[in-house]
């Protein structure tokens, strides 16, 4: 196949207006009065030439004014000039008739590519993108066919392929890549064109940065996507948000989107549409992350230097997603640079990070490895508090990925992650939690329409409390380990129909809690809650069909199975205990290793429909059902090292979520502005709460202290977003409610007398405003404002004296009151240095967290007399300065 090189250089090559074939075609007075369109078509048919023009631009123009025979192109050039149209002869037998403005834009001959039109309805344009200064391929360059929804990203080998509609012979192709000048050329489809692959070389720029594109894929994804409840956030957008202590947090970034909230500062995890922390599945390159933060929520578990994108699916989505009722959050790690070695680092007041990436084999394989560590102890030692001077808190993590392109049909990647957290209080007790993950992915392309992904992943999460006190002297551990395998196939039947199907299996070993004495003198009784062995399997199929240009459906079915396997002990409880506050343990059943304890299964249908009203407006509706078989046991608002997981079983039914949504989506100004309004309703069967007064820690028969009931969540989410320009950002507002009901014939299983009450994640109003402003190529600003309704709280409403206690508190109904509303404004400024220096670049980032020093209530506690004290974390403005560099 011949290659045609389009090079942006310097020389101007003169346009040739007259070719050999056209030289032989005369025009004379006999054609005066003929319609120009009909005439040109007749010339094409009789002379094997091609005129390419916009037929709609001509109307019923007719030929006139010919008195003597002359060359056809001479006449046409004069004729069309009256209509501000120019002729451009791109091949001897191919002539374009273009508006003058288009010819001015494409004023060099090498900006015109004539591609041979296929006999099908579409022609495939293939090409490669290179850096013109280094001749190295560019991966991830964006190609857009202007005026259509078509486009592509260059692959790992720099190649791309775009389907072009044969009914549109003229296509303006624009190439964009961050850090490079954008470039456009005119792609012409003609039966007389060449079969070729286009090689494009673009120049790096040093004057103006590319606008950050918040959406990583199609610019009109908001309107055109068939699935509702899917939010993508590129790491570049997340990096623009003001950071705390210079640390970029993808989870915090996600909470600026509608329907997603965090507890506040110092919280790990997030809530989606009023769901619990444990109803979110978080994965990094396919491996499960149990605790997505360090140091109780101060820092993210994800190293921002390695994160490519964060994808959040609220409620279900494609049938390949499951296992959690509220959401799936997928964090994708990027591949290392396949061209050259790079180093980047950041130095902050409390933590620092270092990332190294580079090729293992140029353009074929790469590695990337990044580590972070903290050094907070010096801060604690400055305090005069005894406990804190004897305390320590630190964390560290390493993230790595290796990518190998085997051939043009196969690639393999291996990702690994290891982290630790360590908090020591007063030299007596040490909290530790560690995560170790690994995942292997094999991507295989069968043909142009079918590809597959095989993913193997393993994860391990362990928490430990080591108490070296002389009397107690124990160590308490809990954790969860899992191994998973998934095989997923994508098949595209046509532009309008595609199928995705596959299977997956996850084996999880949960250790809910084990306490061991560390000396024979220990006063603490050892115990262990039996491990839970759980196997979850699923088979799914998902079909997407653009029925018409307006109507599309995305529908799927997931069939999930759950096996709880011995060994293990199952307790039987009597709940009919009117004279006791807790159920009575009446029987114990022991299961041996490998014996089936419980089996659950269910069909999880998924349906999403999209109706396009016009190119910039659509309406979508969806229904998702999801089963959840593993449950997070935590009766605090924020995740803690003492939380643990339990699997479903005879005493704990799966949680089942049914979610409906309906939304209106509109883009404008070439997808620069997006507006959406989406309403949702979800009912959840068997959400979990706790019997009054239950202590869920260190309890073997924990299931007897848990209750399951009903949950409903509903609301409306509004999002307005500006994607490009010096000033960009978004405003998201959510009104939602999240309610629970625990009603039973047994008093011990009731909460609030069986009435509906607000769940601890019920926040009726949630507003987030993110604004980014780029002042020139080196200076940018960002601001983030958050507002949310106060969370529900149970408060003492009266007190009494009893025995030695002067005051014992009497409490309201569960979650009857609310803490004060939360709002906070963060700002940041980033100053880039050495932008002209390709070898070494650096930047200073100044962030001020909570700039107007709002004392937001993180929690409210009460002294023994019932007086309330509001605890605010970071009640002052918190500035931080970070220096980042890379070379």
């Amino acid at each position: 196949m011949k290659k045609c090189i389009v090079i942006i250089i310097i020389q101007t090559i003169g346009l040739s207006l007259y070719g050999q074939n056209f030289n032989t075609i005369p025009i004379d007075a006999s054609v005066n009065g003929s319609l120009i369109k009909d005439y040109l078509k007749s010339i094409e048919e009789t002379n094997n030439v091609d005129f390419i023009f916009d037929e709609n631009a001509f109307g019923n123009f007719s030929i006139n004014g010919i008195t003597t025979e002359q060359n056809i192109l001479t006449y046409l050039a004069k004729y069309f000039s009256a209509f501000d149209l120019n002729l451009v002869q791109v091949k001897p037998n191919v002539v374009l008739i273009l508006p003058r403005s288009t010819v001015s834009r494409f004023y060099k001959s090498n900006l015109y590519i004539v591609l041979k039109k296929s006999n099908d309805a579409k022609t495939i344009l293939k090409g490669e993108i290179f850096d013109s200064s280094t001749d190295e391929i560019l991966i991830g360059a964006q190609l857009i066919v202007e005026g259509t929804n078509s486009g592509a990203l260059s692959e790992v080998d720099g190649t791309y392929s775009i389907d072009l509609n044969n009914r549109i012979p003229l296509n303006t192709i624009t190439v964009k890549y961050i850090g490079y000048d954008s470039f456009s050329f005119l792609l012409i489809l003609s039966e007389y064109g060449d079969e070729l692959e286009v090689v494009t070389k673009i120049f790096p720029n040093s004057t103006q940065l590319e606008d950050v594109i918040i959406s990583a894929t199609k610019l009109d994804r908001n309107v055109s996507d068939k699935l509702t409840g899917v939010q993508k956030l590129g790491i570049e957008s997340i990096k623009l948000l003001p950071s705390f202590m210079g640390e970029i947090d993808p989870v915090r970034g996600i909470t600026t989107l509608p329907g997603v909230s965090a507890v506040g500062e110092l919280s790990s995890g997030f809530n989606v549409r009023g769901g619990d922390l444990g109803q979110n599945l978080i994965r990094q390159d396919g491996a499960i992350i149990i605790n997505p933060s360090h140091l109780f929520g101060f820092y993210s578990a994800f190293n921002p230097d390695l994160v490519a994108e964060v994808n959040l699916i609220k409620g279900g989505g494609n049938a390949k997603n499951g296992s959690r009722v509220s959401s799936i959050m997928d964090v994708s790690l990027r591949n290392g640079d396949t061209r050259k070695l790079k180093v980047s680092a950041g130095i902050g007041l409390i933590s620092s990070r270092l990332t190294i990436e580079g090729p293992l084999k140029k353009n074929k394989s790469s590695f990337i490895i990044g580590g972070r560590g903290s050094y907070t102890n010096w801060l604690l030692e400055q305090t005069k508090d005894l406990k804190l001077t004897q305390s320590s808190a630190n964390f560290g993590d390493i993230t790595a990925k290796v990518f190998q392109l085997i051939n043009d049909k196969n690639f393999v990647s291996v990702s690994g992650y290891s982290s630790y957290d360590n908090f020591n209080l007063g030299s007596d007790s040490t909290f530790q939690w560690t995560t170790n993950n690994i995942s292997l992915k094999w991507g295989h392309t069968f043909n142009e329409t079918t590809d597959s992904h095989l993913t193997l992943a393993g994860s391990q999460y362990i928490t430990a409390l080591d108490n070296s006190d002389e009397i107690d002297n124990f160590i308490y551990k809990n954790g969860s380990s899992s191994g998973s395998l998934s095989y997923d196939i994508d098949k595209s039947f046509s532009e309008n129909k595609s199928l995705n199907f596959g299977i997956e299996g996850i084996y999880t070993l949960i250790n809910p809690g084990k306490l061991e004495n560390q000396s024979s003198q220990s006063n603490t009784k050892p115990f262990q809650i039996d491990d839970h062995n759980a196997l979850e399997t699923a088979a799914y199929v998902h079909y997407e069909w653009d029925i018409t240009d307006e109507i599309a459906i995305s529908t799927g079915l997931r069939y999930s199975q759950f096996y709880r396997i011995g060994n293990g002990v199952i307790y039987d409880f009597n709940y009919n205990v009117n004279e006791s506050i807790f159920p009575e343990l009446i029987d114990t059943l022991a299961f041996s290793t490998g014996e089936l304890i419980d089996f659950q299964h269910g069909l999880e249908p998924r349906l999403s429909m999209r109706y396009i009203i016009n190119n910039s407006t659509s309406v979508k509706a969806s229904f998702y059902k999801t089963n959840q078989y593993l449950h997070l046991i935590s009766n605090t608002t924020s995740s803690t090292p003492l939380d643990y997981w339990l699997s479903s079983g005879p005493n704990l039914l799966p949680e089942i979520g049914n979610q409906f949504s309906l939304g209106f989506f509109r883009n404008s100004k070439d997808n620069n502005y997006e507006i959406s309004i989406e309403g949702f309703y979800r009912n959840t069967k068997n959400p979990i709460d706790y019997i009054e007064g239950a202590d869920i820690k260190l309890t073997e028969s924990i299931e007897g202290l848990l209750i399951q009931g009903k949950g409903i969540a509903y609301g409306t989410e509004l999002l307005a977003r500006k994607n490009r320009g010096k000033l960009n950002g978004w405003v998201s507002y959510t009104y939602s409610r999240s309610l629970r009901q625990f009603n039973s014939q047994y008093e011990v299983l009731k909460v609030n007398n069986g009435k509906y009450y607000a769940s601890q994640y019920d926040q009726p109003h949630n507003l987030s405003v993110v604004l980014n402003y780029k002042y020139g190529p080196i200076l940018s600003f960002s601001a983030n404002f958050n507002f949310s309704s106060g969370r529900p709280i149970t408060i003492p409403t009266s007190k009494f004296s009893y025995d030695a206690y002067l005051s014992v508190l009497n409490y309201s109904d569960r979650n009857e009151y609310r803490v004060p509303d939360y709002h906070r404004l963060d700002i940041s400024a980033t100053l880039k240095n050495n932008i002209d220096n390709k070898k070494f670049r650096s930047e200073w980032n100044l962030s001020i967290f909570n700039i107007y020093s709002r004392n937001n209530a993180y929690t409210i506690f009460f002294n023994q007399y019932g007086s309330a004290k509001k605890v605010s974390i970071l009640g002052n403005a918190f500035p931080s300065l970070t220096y980042n560099f890379k070379f």
């Binding site: 110092l266 109780f296 604690l380 305090t383 005069k384 508090d385 005894l386 406990k387 804190l388 305390s391 908090f423 209080l425 007063g426 007596d428 007790s429 909290f431 108490n467 308490y476 006063n523 009784k525 004279e579 506050i581 807790f582 009766n635 803690t640 706790y690 009054e692 007064g693 239950a694 202590d695 820690k697 149970t794 408060i795 003492p796 409403t797 009266s798 007190k799 009494f800 004296s801 009893y802 025995d803 030695a804 508190l809 009497n810 409490y811 004392n855 209530a857 993180y858 929690t859 506690f861 009460f862 023994q864 007399y865 007086s867 309330a868 004290k869 509001k870 605890v871 605010s872 974390i873």
Partner: protein, 372 residues
Amino acid sequence: MKHIIANGWFWLVALIGCIEPYDFNVENELPILVIESYLSNVSFDESLDFPSDGRYFYVNLHYSSDVKTVRDKGVDGAKVTLLDNEGNLLKFEGTGMGHYLLYNESFKAESDKEYQLKVVVDNETTYVSSWEKMAVKNTHTVGDITFKEVERPTIKHVGEEEVIRLVKGIEVFTNLPTNGMNEQVYYKWQFEPTWIYVAPLAPSTQIDKVCWATNLNYMSGYSLQQDETGGYKKDLFYMEIEQNERVYEQFSMLIKQQIISKDHFYFWNLMKEQAVVSGLFDNPPANLPTNFSCTTDESKSAIGYFGIINESAIRWYFSIKDLSYRYQNNLVELCRINYGPPAIGDPKPCEHCLDYTNGTAVLNKPNWWKSD
């Protein structure tokens, strides 16, 4: 373990955060009747042999109050009766301020009987407890009491400054007997301290030189233990030695050991947990369980737990002379420091023991006080 986490988190939060008062403005909260009561297998006469001044079974009735610095209002004029499953009925007599006593010196709970408490307050509103009986039949005597000398870092105020100092003290233990019952035993210990106070500047012939003092708020808490195995030392309480005039002469602690039911244990345990400052990792708040119900109005409830306990007690004596190191009684030096002329009417504990300010002092030596 939960306290470790709560305290640790509280201190870390306090370093970087801010704590300020907040008012929820709770209004129109109806008061709830509080019933404090219990029965044990030790009668009044037997309680004299602890040794002690003796204890009648009592019921305290009062209403809950708003979360302000107000005391509960006692309920007088109520009818309080005790019933057993054989139909016997005993009445409690009111003594004022919500106190009711069972004036029966020989009455005690029997291990094979069930008992119910009934309270009738104004407008004939009736509250009854569930039928309760003793958790264990056999009496468990209190194990040997021992102590260990320790030093604990403690925050002290020196002038206007807070400093951390190591303070000498003792930890007091009891030996739990081996639990051969194949089921859990729930213990509760209560403490009643009494000590000798000697006015250091009073002449030896002065009548009010030596007093016996008590303080309802000193060591007023209790200790709990959920025991499965027994056979180990259980820590009961900690007491400072330095600057603690209570141990300079002779200190006596009546240690009452109670074996209670599982639900009764949870009642006391939850009450104790609520006394700890709430933190991020604490369990969500919960109201104390009760085994009382209102038979005349389902919408009303009472607070309290009527339990039948297996009780035993031991009296333990201690003074600084029992320490392995020498600790000097420094009251004389403290009393000789010249703080300026005293105001008229100010107590003078240095010269009159009856003016003792850290408790209630009496001149009469308790009948049960051990002879030297």
